[in-house]
Amino acid sequence: MTLVRLAFRLQPSSIGFAALVCLVLAGAALWLASDMRSVLEACGTPDEPKACQVIYAFQDTHMQAVYLTQTGIGLAMYGVPLVLGVPLLTREIEQKTAMIAWPLAGSRLKWLLWRSLPVLVVALVLHGVMAFAAAQLAQAYFPHNDIGFNGHGTRDFSLLTRSMLLLAVAVLLGAVIGRLLPALMIGIVLAVGISAALDAALTSWLEPRELAQSESILTGAFPLNTGFEYRAPDGSPMSDEVAETTMQALYEEHGESVDPALLPQEVFFGVAASRYPEVLVRESAAILGATVMVSALAGFVVHRRRPE
């Protein structure tokens, strides 16, 4: 509690903004999740709603609100760490208080540790709440399925690790650039790059394989899709162009009554939803390792840079 109070004293606007954004979004997510779950309470009764029977149970009623909330969480998980991390050092450097604080502290690294620890605690708590709420929302939106990789990176532990990496990057940026607004602007560009790189990296280090029909998105599972191809009825691969032309010709000849066995088969490649926990552990370990490295780099920069 003392740490949180100290952090708030040092960065009241950043922490106030972060708390407002995270708690409003988490509140919206939890409210939506509980609203959707309350609909399912009528399942099994004579007035059973449609949501009890279909995979996309809440598409008609909650899709827009869920999409907006998830987009907000997806933006906040990168924006909030920037707002918390960048001012940590830029404020001291811009206002020249670093010139007094660093020599007085004895060790700059110890100073950085004490300065960043309260912010880290606040960030962990706020993002933890948001990650939990995002996971509840994702599960409530697809109540009849294992959500697997659906929303991966923007819920539960994957949200938390990515946010902590961004926090470390934000502190490093502040230390290197030393000016608030330029560091924030470069941070936004970096956040977009990191988000895209993490998604791209995930598909490159996993070993995708051909997904069985029951594991594919066609049956309501949520695998991590990495590829797609058409196959001829005899199992030989077909190019997209040939497959689409073949389908067009078959439908023109037979209409809707075409025999499905004659049509090109859709084959998905990727990682099955059942492997989600294992992938999450491996990815989290890698991101936390990167976070430690970036934090060490920030420490190195603070140790070496001029305090102005």
């Binding site: 009241p12 606007s13 950043s14 903004f17 407002l20 449609k50 008609d60 009623t61 707002v83 001012p87 404020r91 000016r179 608030l180 607004l181 330029p182 924030l184 602007m185 470069i186 560009v189 997209d240 162009e241 040939v242 689409e244 032309t245």
Partner: protein, 342 residues
């Protein structure tokens, strides 16, 4: 003239890095838009047999691409899809400028303690404020004009056969409205900065305030549009949809009930109506039993404003956001005149 240049130089010095980064970002986005526009034009010119009449995700009505054209068409659609994402930047740029250029303008002077000297040296605080704003406004708006023009070029390349002066496609992400929103956002940013007087809190607060004000303006304009919109039944059998449907501003999507009343789908669900099935002629049914009995509740329909009113709505919406900006600027003047400089 020399005085104006001195003020411009001073403004530039004070926000050098922000101005440079904003300029780099905006010009890079503009260059990318021009590149995509010329690439799409070149692809069409190189493959007239496959790509004639193509645009906006639809294949031209007059040609039917066979296997030979499918590769070219797929590549064209991929390029078009990437190009379309750039238009989000021209939507976001005015709000970003309000936060990055507007909010710190007065806040930095108060935060850094320089306002005390600057305000006492100036004959009038309002004059000082206007001179401080002038350079940033000209700089930011010049960049927005570049984005507005290049986004218009890009949309023209994506829809080569449509008269964009009578078309609401990507409304607010191209043309004069981009610049007008910049005026409003920068002025609101200045007001928030003048009230708060500290850079970081002002920047963070301006994200929320600009977001809330523009969301409110947008909701208000939506309501205004509703009063002027007409009901258009959807022709679900027509593909691609008719020109009117493509070029109009869609105000709401829902059902025209058999008694002629229009209800959005969410309003229908709230009233306990379950429009679950669509049939021939856009008829909407509640259940499979109703389909068999031929008992429908209404027609699938839009509330629309036709594309012919595009210029009129751009002028109206631009005037509204500029007016909001003028009010914000007036309030910023009052705040600067009255507040303590520290």
């Amino acid at each position: 003239m020399t005085g104006a240049l001195t003020w411009a130089r001073l403004s530039y010095r004070q926000q050098k890095w922000e101005l440079l980064l904003v300029a780099v970002g905006a010009l890079a986005a503009a260059a990318a838009m021009v590149w995509f526009a010329t690439t799409l034009d070149a692809m069409r010119a190189a493959n007239p047999d496959c790509l004639a009449g193509i645009g906006g995700g639809f294949v031209g009505a007059e040609q039917e691409p066979g296997a030979a054209c499918q590769g070219v068409t797929s590549r064209y659609f991929e390029t078009e899809s990437l190009a379309s994402t750039l238009l989000y930047l021209s939507w976001a740029a005015p709000f970003g400028m309000g936060v990055i250029l507007g909010a710190p303008l007065v806040a930095r002077e108060v935060d850094g303690g320089t306002a005390q000297l600057a305000w006492s040296l100036s004959r009038s605080r309002i004059g000082w404020l206007l001179r401080r704003i002038a350079f940033i406004a000209v700089f930011g708006l010049a960049l927005l004009v570049v984005l507005a023009v290049t986004s218009e070029l890009l949309v023209a390349a994506i829809f080569p056969d449509r008269p964009l002066g009578e078309d609401f496609t990507w409304y607010g992400r191209r043309g004069p409205l981009v610049v007008a929103r910049g005026v409003g956002a920068i002025a609101i940013g200045v007001l928030v900065g003048a009230i708060i007087g500290r850079v970081l809190p002002a920047v963070l607060a301006s994200i929320i305030v600009i977001g809330v004000i523009f969301a409110g303006v947008s909701l208000g304009l939506d309501q205004w549009n509703r009063t002027e919109a007409t009901i258009e039944r959807r022709n679900l059998e027509a593909f691609p949809p008719s020109g009117d449907e493509l070029t109009a501003l869609g105000v709401a999507y829902g059902i025209e009930l058999v008694d002629g009343e229009f209800l959005s789908y969410s309003d229908a669900f709230d009233r306990g109506i379950e429009p679950n099935y669509s049939g021939v002629g856009g008829k909407v049914f509640e259940s499979e039993a109703d389909i068999e009995a031929g008992t429908f509740i209404g027609y699938d329909a839009f509330l629309i404003i036709p594309g012919s009113r595009y210029t009129q709505l751009v002028a109206r919406d631009s005037a509204v956001v500029v007016l909001v900006g003028a009010v914000a600027l007036g309030m910023a003047g009052t705040v600067v005149r009255r507040r303590r400089p520290g």
